[in-house]
Symmetry: C2
Subunit: 212 residues, 2 copies
Amino acid sequence: MSMVMPGTAKPRRRYQTAGRRLGAQATRDSILQAARFLFAERGFAGTTIEAIAAQAEVAPQTVYAAFGSKAAIAKEFRFLLEREADIPHRFQEMLAEPDPARQLELVAGIGRYICEQHGDVYEFFAASREPELAAVRKEMLDAQRWGMRMLVDRLMEKDVLRPELDPEDAASILWAVSSIEMYRKLVTYSGWTPDHFERWVAASLKGLVLAA
Amino acid sequence: MSMVMPGTAKPRRRYQTAGRRLGAQATRDSILQAARFLFAERGFAGTTIEAIAAQAEVAPQTVYAAFGSKAAIAKEFRFLLEREADIPHRFQEMLAEPDPARQLELVAGIGRYICEQHGDVYEFFAASREPELAAVRKEMLDAQRWGMRMLVDRLMEKDVLRPELDPEDAASILWAVSSIEMYRKLVTYSGWTPDHFERWVAASLKGLVLAA
């Protein structure tokens, strides 16, 4: 997947707040995990607030008070995923890496990690017909694509990009080849190990965007 | 996408049958087109047999008599797509082409054509949660992947495959890189022209699977 999602400062800070707010965040997190399980199992449309409350072992009113709506819960997944995977940190590390080939290996590693850990969430976002979820999904895709464009800027500074390659096209290629859709085709369907996938993505990205 | 779907002899033959059976096929085709439109618009679950009948301007009984069920209609899409795009013919032409690089260009062309013409059908298959549709989708994917494996056999006969590449992996790569998911990411999302996509897929496949 190889993505970064901007704007993580706020959710992160919540973890560092003691007492009541920590309890509130813990409740929110268990609601989010319950919703994640049910959305993957029954789809977004097939899941009620009541079912989420039952799964999280809280009252439906608690779910309404914490989020307001089912769509608002789904929107929160963006931040939940970041906190779990520590994507911003891994992404900054990748950007700061001086060796271009190693940068692409780190991209492949981030992508593999996200596919393994969060494939379920991307799946139900992609499968949903809800306009509200489509809007959140668009934001997630935009953030991923934007992260790859940042990497392309670094590669251009080092003058290692294939000379005939447009920078926007390079970003799209990095983004598409390390995507969850490729993971589904190669790991889930074709039976590759995640290790094999990660190595193939790294090698392919080098061949596709770096000057020989 | 780069696929072939075996077993087309039967639906093809229907077109060559005169009189009553031709009329029956015309009715079936207009039901299929109506269903295709509605499935894309409302999803499989959101479409009733009655709505399909109204869209096709036939009685619901006619739909039941022709197909029996909504799932049976969806299954027929496999053959409808083949008839429209003449995929088996294009695929055989690609297999028979002696030049390996040109073979991969033809793969890219077939993939682009299918993405442009039939993306809507693959989309609602992928988005559906119906087990019956999932089974048909699996068959379609298997047929695509199997077609790519046939191509890999031709490339191996010519001894032009990258020496370190496992033939099964090569087939998976050909299949994944020319897929509708890549088309969505590069054309629909990133704004590439279909021409640009086709050229990029052809060049990338050459780099990824052919020996230097």
